[in-house]
Amino acid sequence: MDYTIGTVAPILLFPLAAFVINAFIGRKLPRQGDWVSIIGILLSFGWSARIFNDFVFGHYSSDYYVHKVFTWIDLSYGDFPFQIDLGIYIDNMTAMMLLMVSGVAALIHIFSSFYMKGDPRYGRFFTYLSLFTTGMLGLVLSENLLSVFIFWELMGFCSYSLIGFYYEKEEAGNASMKAFMTTRVGDVCFLLAILGIWSVVGSVSFVDIYNHLASGAFEGQVAILGIPLASFCAFMIFAGTIGKSAQFPLQVWLPDAMMGPTPCSALIHAATMVAAGVYLSLRMYPLMEAGHLTTFIAYIGAITAFGAATIALIQTDIKAVLAYSTISQLGYMVLGIGVGSYNAAFMHLITHAVFKACLFLSAGSVIHSLHDHHTHGHVQEMPRMGGLRKKMPYTFLAMACCTLAISGVPFFSGFVSKDRILGDALYWGITGHHAHWYQAIPPILGFAAAFLTAFYMCRMMFLTFFGEPRDKELYEHCHKEKLSLNRNIPLLLLAVFTLGVWYSGSLTGQGKVKVAGDRYEWFSTLIEKPNTSNFREYTKEPFGLKDTRGTVHFEKSHYDPSHGLSEEEAHHVHTAHNIGAGLSILVAFLGIFIAFLMYIRKSMDPGFWVRTFHRWNKALKEKYYFDHLYIDVLIQKVLLTVNRLLAAFDMGVYDRFAIDGMASVNRWLYKAANFFDNFIVDNSVDLTGVSVKFLNVASRTVQSGKVQFYFMVLILAVSFYILKISF
């Protein structure tokens, strides 16, 4: 296959076409057009599989990439270049992401046709799913930060819409608003990072950024207050990750996002969109390194992983457990980025996507079966479940696989990836030569979180599927699960892919290469940190035309198993990995064992621990008071003060300045003088009387509500900007 924009674009265009069709005529189609979306994503999956095949089975070099761009916006004037390109950037990571995203999305589409059946907005759900898939695939294919940002926002919108899908419920509306607003913080930072990068590179293409990083263009650049520009940009991009991937301290939106339908939680808030933040940080990894941000990242990741795991301990809502476990696992990925475990972080992204999607779908399957005839709602509370193993054997099977995977039990995918992150963290923070004392905490938190993960996941399993049914009526009403195409097949397929063999084996024949010791993994031979120094110049191509460079020849190239490490270092890494593997197996089984004792054997009383740590319990129940912090303190106090100040500025400075400065200029036009007192007095009365409510107050703070005032400020700013650049 020729790799041109035209040949790759269909990946994106199939779901987009499905979206357009469903958006406009979906309601008229049979089955409300769900098949359009499913066919679109399946075609897209096929296309992705083709690319994956070419890249992974045909070509082994980890630094091979396809990069095609065309000029989108050209506003160059003279020697002032201003060009924005769009294009594709495909390397092994992209290929794997494409396969993962389209595959998981396809299965979730199919599952949705079961789960959402009978919903009054059935067709609209698929419309959103298609749009979302478009956004995610586009983000993965993007070759520059700007188009990443565009798709990023597109996904944000879809997430917003899907969280608020049941907009009749007030909580759903609030949750969607909360998610949108919280991620907005990160998005704004991301935009700032784009601007900062643009100011140095003059382009936002990944390849250009890598080249400029290699040539040291960022060195000596200062953003503001002596902060190096590289650090600034890295931090801002990472802030985008924090927002999108729900890292500490912006993790508050993700649990609330579970208000959406379960398939959308599976797709968006577990498998793909939240992983997009991690993906972005991976793409920008060289910048993170150049900005000396890795320690910070590791800390954020470790804190998130541990903190979310602790909150998950006491959750009773099955989806909430999964939500916190998602945050925790994303924390692992970020920890992996921070400790320099690049390919392990990416691998965990992939494995997590698979098993977490499966977990969510299984939870969806469980929830869907448990119909409360009194409230006419589905039951999500684990205390009312129990013993469902016999009722839904397939769901149980799938969920068990995934639980083992996420807990880090050997021979499952989670072990393969998490163990390597933990091993690298161990090496980075404790056993390595460059480890400082302050780096010791993240690995410790990581292992603690691994223990907690195993514990709470098994707790969830035991509460749900084992023991005696605690709500008999509910149990009786639950139908026995039959093997059906759109319910169990996606689950079981996903469950199959939670086996570790897919990731650690030697699928491609390339696994004979030794990786840091004596293990064989195809995955790590294909994914490597971007080597910023070997990126070539690239040429632009006219959109849709054939690739002028001819067919891509995939060649097998040699792989350097040492990753450029010296013999001694490699040995240390190996040792650390061995210790890490042992430890993680240990903590995993320990967690499972304790859960077993607590919830199966009942020989340990959970209530005892709750009573003993009742303060902690309360803190966990309140999610460490983050919502209070944001709503009561930050918004109610801080932003309200800022609001008042701005209002005072609006009234006092801007009006007075204008009056005193302009009074004599146009006296003949001034026919409203005696109204002006009213203007000031009433205005200030009105504005001080304004009270602030909840979240959307944030948007009010910078608004006086008068469009014309904004317009004035805008014009003034533009005037002075033109003044500045022209004189």
Partner: protein, 101 residues
Amino acid sequence: MFGLAWYLGIGFVLFCTGITVMIARKSIVAILIGIELILNGAAINFVAYSKFVTQDLDGHIFPLFIIIVAAAEAAVGLAIVIRFYQIRETIHIDEATQLQS
């Protein structure tokens, strides 16, 4: 006398008048009128540049599309104004504050 500068000047005056109308007038319809003036000021520049600088007809296409967009904009904008009036019984711009809180 009547070179490029003249036309740019006319366009500029229209533009500034439009901006002032947008800021000064309190009726939403008047603000839309101001937008029309701004658009026309810009369109004059296109035609003037096409005559005096580029000497081709692309400069005639742009005002054409500006006119089209302005018509569409006026249509939608006025529809919003009418709807707003049905809800609030006024077209005073400072009353349009529902999105504020």
